[in-house]
């Protein structure tokens, strides 16, 4: 037991403690994130790509689908910065517009995946028993579906559009994240602080939202950043099959798949390196940012 004197002593502000030591949790997260150089680099790159996609018309003198049959397969030069494709369209312009599709698909489909996965995983892990059994069997069924045939059927019914691709990716992709969240919650649920929450009369909803999910944040973020990357790539596969974006609209995925023949790979490097590099840089930056965010959100890690 601290004596009266001791209590008084700890009440006084400690020497060298500045006002910034009493920050709100969110400010602490932002401060820690800023200190992580790699994460900030990732954030900057992703922001630049996103801004480039949004302001694409302002960044290029060419139009997206402007065909010029007199200037096909041109090498990069001062007019067409990244050359032109087989129809003479400016490749740099198409890369900028392609970013719109690829980033949207990645973000939206991953958000759908996470929302479904986290809700179902949280419920399954927290309530356990029959609820858990039912949800996890549904997840098993969903992960057993052969992805491409289901996607083809789905898009055939709803019509090929980029929104349907996002929906398919989201609706079929949730079992992975669901399983991760459920597993973590199963183990967290048995911790003593959950028993304390029960003893305090905290409602189930708040127990899941305030106690369990914040503790699973690390794996959700890692899984989400990985998910964006794989969604961008899957979109390219679907576009290749004619299920994603319709031909004149570019996406990084279908630009890559258009370039997939030996002649192009050997002699027209500007048709496959830029979209490939764009996907790589975007995915890499998202991963770096995700890792940084995960660390910043974990109060246990030293600053």
């Amino acid at each position: 037991m601290a004596t009266e004197k001791e209590v008084k002593k700890v009440n006084e502000p400690i020497k060298g403690m500045k006002q910034e030591d009493i920050l709100s949790p969110w400010k602490i997260v932002i401060k820690r994130l800023k200190r992580n150089k790699l994460a900030m680099l990732g954030l900057t790159v992703v922001s630049i790509i996103a801004l480039a996609a949004i302001f694409a018309p302002l960044l290029t003198p060419h139009t997206r689908d402007g065909v010029n049959l007199l200037n096909t397969n041109a090498k990069p030069n001062s007019v067409n910065w990244l050359g032109t494709d087989a129809l003479g369209r400016d490749y740099y312009t198409r890369l900028l517009y392609g970013a719109r599709i690829s980033l949207t698909v990645g973000l939206v489909s991953t958000s759908i995946r996470i929302v479904i996965g986290v809700i179902l995983g949280g419920i399954a892990g927290y309530y356990g028993k029959v609820v858990d059994g039912v949800i996890m069997r549904i997840a098993d069924i969903f992960s057993c579906f052969p992805f491409i045939p289901i996607a083809i059927t789905f898009v055939a019914i709803l019509g090929p559009s980029i929104y349907n691709v996002m929906l398919v990716l989201g609706l079929l992709g949730w079992p992975g994240i669901c399983r991760i969240v459920r597993g973590e919650i199963l183990s967290l649920r048995e911790r003593e602080f959950m028993e304390a929450a029960t003893a305090l009369g905290i409602s189930d909803y708040r127990k899941i939202i305030r106690h369990l999910l914040p503790n699973t944040m690390a794996s959700i973020i890692v899984s989400a950043t990985m998910g964006i990357a794989s969604a961008i790539l899957t979109e390219s596969a679907l576009s290749f099959l004619g299920l994603g974006v319709a031909p004149p609209i570019p996406s990084w995925g279908n630009m890559l798949s258009d370039a997939q023949n030996r002649y192009v790979l050997q002699h027209r490097w500007w048709l496959w390196i830029p979209p490939g590099l764009s996907i790589f840089v975007t995915v890499m930056s998202l991963n770096l940012f995700g890792d940084g965010l995960r660390d910043a959100l974990d109060p246990r890690l030293k600053q």
């Binding site: 037991m1 601290a2 001791e6 209590v7 700890v10 009440n11 502000p13 400690i14 403690m17 030591d21 009493i22 920050l23 709100s24 949790p25 911790r191 003593e192 602080f193 028993e195 304390a196 929450a197 029960t198 003893a199 305090l200 009369g201 905290i202 409602s203 708040r206 305030r210 106690h211 914040p214 503790n215 944040m217 974990d298 109060p299 246990r300």
Partner: protein, 330 residues
């Protein structure tokens, strides 16, 4: 055991436990059928008076913690009754039970796993106030500050996370969390076992001061006899899920009647190497609670075992005034 309950004067007793049982099923096979039960708590009856501290001692695995958790309804009972303020808590609907939780709280053994690592101290202590609508906005932080200061922490600790504290401080946070709701009854489930000895006494004195200030009633669970002796008014001794002896602390230490209590007391170390004392060393190991011995549960290790100990369950009866014991010798 029935007489214990019959003798109860209800006005005095905050908590009445009557033939409480808690079994955990053992499941086996593909169909996960219940093949047996772990009889963690078997027919326990006792009462706790307002403002007193009842200590419960016993070896690990004897059902002390299960008892504590079952009578807060953190675990559902198998059989029996628990009356809190004359209300049978197992008959209350979920919403009523949540309201009652503001009055009965628990302090846990492990100060590391019992605090959510992602919440600040302010959130941990203040959460229940918001949840039960007992305070709003600024009142919450005022109340939190008041409670943590009472528990020997400083106001600037409010924004810190649990990992920034030492074990003793974390235990203070756990106590502050339990006391934020202004409860009447607190189960202390080995609150000092995970702390080193110098911190143990600080926490024990804090608990005793708070009891005086707030008029708290404690159920104090421990395996450490000297700790229990320091803090308790009455002490119950448990062995393999049953209570074998219950008496005032001085009565229990001066005049232990049950052979198990006698053995337990003879094991307390004396800080004087010259002093020799007769140690009662029990033979064998503690039997499995899944398959407890017939008759008296202690008969396999009792130095005074008699033939009928193996068949008849001894009654938990009053041997002297307020001194209950379950043994055929008495």
């Amino acid at each position: 055991m029935a007489e214990v309950v019959d003798n109860i004067v209800y006005g005095d007793d905050l908590l009445v436990v009557n033939n409480l049982k808690k079994y955990f099923p053992i499941k086996a096979g593909i169909l996960r059928r219940t093949v047996n039960h772990v009889r963690a708590v078997e027919n326990i009856s006792f009462t706790i008076k307002r403002g007193e501290t009842l200590g419960i001692v016993g070896e690990s695995g004897c059902g002390k913690s299960t008892t504590g958790r079952t009578l807060l309804r953190l675990l559902e009972k198998t059989d029996g009754e628990v009356f809190y303020n004359n209300q049978n808590i197992f008959e209350l609907p979920k919403s009523e039970m949540r309201k009652l939780r503001t009055q009965m709280q628990i302090v846990f053994q492990d100060p590391y796993s019992s605090l959510n690592p992602r919440m600040t101290v302010g959130e941990i202590v203040g959460e229940s106030l918001r949840e039960h609508g007992l305070a709003k906005g600024k009142e919450v932080s005022e109340r939190v500050q008041e409670v943590i200061e009472k528990c020997g922490l400083a106001p600037y600790h409010i924004r810190r996370y649990p990992h920034e504290f030492s074990g003793g401080q974390r235990q203070r946070i756990g106590i502050a969390r339990a006391l934020a709701l202004n409860p009447q009854f607190v189960v202390c489930d080995e609150p000092v076992s995970a702390l080193d000895v110098s911190i143990q006494s600080q926490i024990l004195n804090l608990l005793m001061d708070l009891q005086e200030d707030m008029g708290l009633t404690y159920l104090f669970i421990s395996h450490d006899l000297s700790v229990v002796k320091h803090i308790s008014d009455r002490i119950g001794v448990m062995y393999l899920g049953s209570m074998v002896e219950l008496a005032g602390k001085n009565e229990l230490f001066d005049n232990p009647l049950h052979p198990y209590t006698q053995a337990l007391l003879s094991a307390i170390p004396i800080p004087d190497p010259k002093l020799k004392r007769k140690r009662i060393i029990l033979q064998g190991d503690i039997p499995s609670p899944a398959n407890p011995p017939s008759g008296c549960r202690f008969h396999t290790r009792c130095p005074h075992v008699m033939p009928h100990c193996k068949t008849d369950v001894p009654e938990f009866k009053e041997a002297a005034d307020g001194h209950y014991v379950a043994c055929h010798l008495i």
